[in-house]
Amino acid sequence: MVKIKDALKSLTQGTPRNLMIYYGIFAIWLVTTAMHIPDGYLSPATSIIMFVIVLPFWVMGVRKLREKVTAKNVPLIALIAAFSFIIMMFNVPIPGGTTAHAVGGALAAIILGPEIATMAISIALVIQAFFFGDGGILALGANCFNMAVVLPYVSFAIYQAISKNQPVNSKRRIVGAALGGWTGLTIAAFFAGFEFGIQPLLFHTASGTPLYAPYPLSISIPAMLFAHALIASPVEALVTALVVAYLQRANQSALEIINKPEISPELSGFARWRILWIGLAVLIVLVPIGLLAPGTAWGEWGTEQLSSLGLAFIPQGMAKLSGLWSAPLSGYDLPALKNSNLGYVLSGIVGTIVIGIVAWLFTMLVTTHKPEPK
């Protein structure tokens, strides 16, 4: 308990006492704008990287549309995208007399599967950005990653894990929908907080003035996580669960679209390699264990560590080459974070994502494409 207190203290070190006010203000803002990041919050470099991260998911969605999905699904996706757009406008009454908005991403994933949900929500976000000025245009990559990739994939995985092979009217489906919606949006909020939080570390003027979103990770991640975990995510969970319950009563076939052959999840990479994915997730969760191990992995010493190991002589070539490439996350740490443990875990997450993308791009290159239907 004391340890957690200390950890929290170190997280908020250097920020003034009235931090709670800021969190409160942040929470109000979050509820009013949901998660649509406008242009100006993220640096162009971040925006471009976010597009690169989202791209494989879009390619996956488009490929699915072209190859596995029949023409019947063109209007289906359009209508679900339109539905996602409108569900974001619904005012959901929450206790206390106010209302909040849901994203609807978990629901889209449950109905269509995550790949197609990514397309549907991305389309809704593109229309919001271009036609209604809601969310930035350069920030579309980041917005799509948070709301159209993280949210549906996480929600769907949890929904599937809880309600797999359950009858359509099973209560477990409602539970899975609620848990999926809550977890999906909370993790999406974590990523949004991360995207905001790295801005002041990486982009500031020579005098230290932050150029984009001004709050460091120590403020942005807790603010986004708390506000979402307590308000926005429960709303998402509520809407998802209540709509699934309604569909169980009124339109069970809607919950079975995903089992039809044309957009079957069995064909998707996620389901086919499910055991591998779960294993990977377990490994990521276990990453903090690495913090307990002392020292450096054998054979992976840097030049400084070599001399501290008692090696008097450092090969000349090695000394020369070691300065050639300075890794962005050297030592798996974000120095500006001032918290090496958090930095270590974040580095792990970032690294896993980057590796995943590279692997995915590689498989895209080596797998053969079907010719486009003319």
Binding site: G40, P75, F83, N91, P93, F130, G136, L238, V243, A250
Partner: protein, 281 residues
């Protein structure tokens, strides 16, 4: 958003049904208004939509890359000039952006005034100090968001949505996606009307305020019903497409043509964006 926030305030004591109705009608109104301006003749209306999409991206990038507040201010005035010569009502254009930004980005930027370390600028009661760097940061955020939103809405105010969608093709978006985007935009309006009817019919039969859980069940039932209707409409639309000869892949007729005036405008905007990026380093 400005009218929206005012009208939402007016109805803030009313039920969520009314609030949703207000939001829906505002969205419909907004897109109708945009279409009306887009049909007038003006500076931006006369240019090739593809050029406008590329120019928008370049200008957004220069707003985003600038490390100089004055460059962002200058770009905002450029947006104002574009609006003026494109017959966009200036009052509407300024209000639409600046009345809603303080409510959202302003709230986010406010704490930065105090917590970004730097030389003290203004001393406030309770020991609060506004720092120079804090003020600069907050201004960066506000001006960037305001100018970016201004450029963004200029595109949609001066271009019919059909042309915007087609123009997105220059960004190498696959034709299937553009087809779906277009259908989505169309069906947003249909579904908005359906939702409007559902909520309006419910509102007309409401005599008292409902309890919280009852309200939430109603929202979920409306959302679920809307989903079922969407699915039903989608299969009808598919049959309609098939009966009109849709063969799994969309074909579009590209009617855009770059004229000399488009090339000139493109080069001018390109030079402006480059100059802004260079000056704002």
């Amino acid at each position: 958003m400005t009218e929206d926030s005012r009208s939402t305030k007016r109805t803030s004591r009313s039920s969520f049904v009314e609030r949703t109705l207000v939001d829906i009608n505002h969205t419909l109104e907004q897109s109708l208004f945009a279409e009306a301006i887009a049909r007038q003749t003006g500076l931006l209306q006369g240019l090739d939509p593809r050029l406008k999409v590329i120019a928008l991206l370049m200008l957004l990038l220069s707003v985003s890359l600038s490390h100089n507040l004055w460059i962002i201010v200058a770009l905002y005035f450029l947006a104002l000039g574009f609006a003026f010569f494109s017959k966009v009502p200036l009052g509407f254009f300024v209000k639409r952006v600046w009345l809603f930004i303080p409510f959202f980005t302003g709230i986010v930027a406010l704490p930065a005034l105090f917590i970004v370390p730097g030389a003290a600028l203004v001393h406030l009661p309770f020991g609060m100090v506004i720092t120079a760097t804090g003020l600069q940061t907050a201004l960066f955020l506000l001006l960037r968001v305001g100018t970016s939103v201004s450029f963004g809405i200029l595109l949609i105010l001066t271009t019919p949505w059909n042309s915007v969608l087609k123009a997105l093709g220059v960004l190498r978006i696959p034709a299937v996606m553009i087809l779906i985007l277009g259908m989505t935009y169309r069906y947003i309006h249909l579904l908005l009307n359906i939702t409007n009817d559902m909520f309006l019919s419910r509102k007309s039969r409401l005599l008292r305020r409902m309890a919280g859980p009852e309200e939430r069940r109603l929202v979920a039932a409306t959302a679920g019903n809307l989903l079922s209707k969407s699915l039903q409409v989608s299969s009808e639309v598919y049959l309609a497409m098939q009966s009109r000869g849709f063969r799994n892949y969309p074909r579009t007729i590209d009617t855009f043509k770059m004229r000399p005036v488009d090339w000139t405008a493109g080069i001018i905007v390109f030079l402006i964006a480059l100059a802004a990026i260079w000056l704002g380093r």
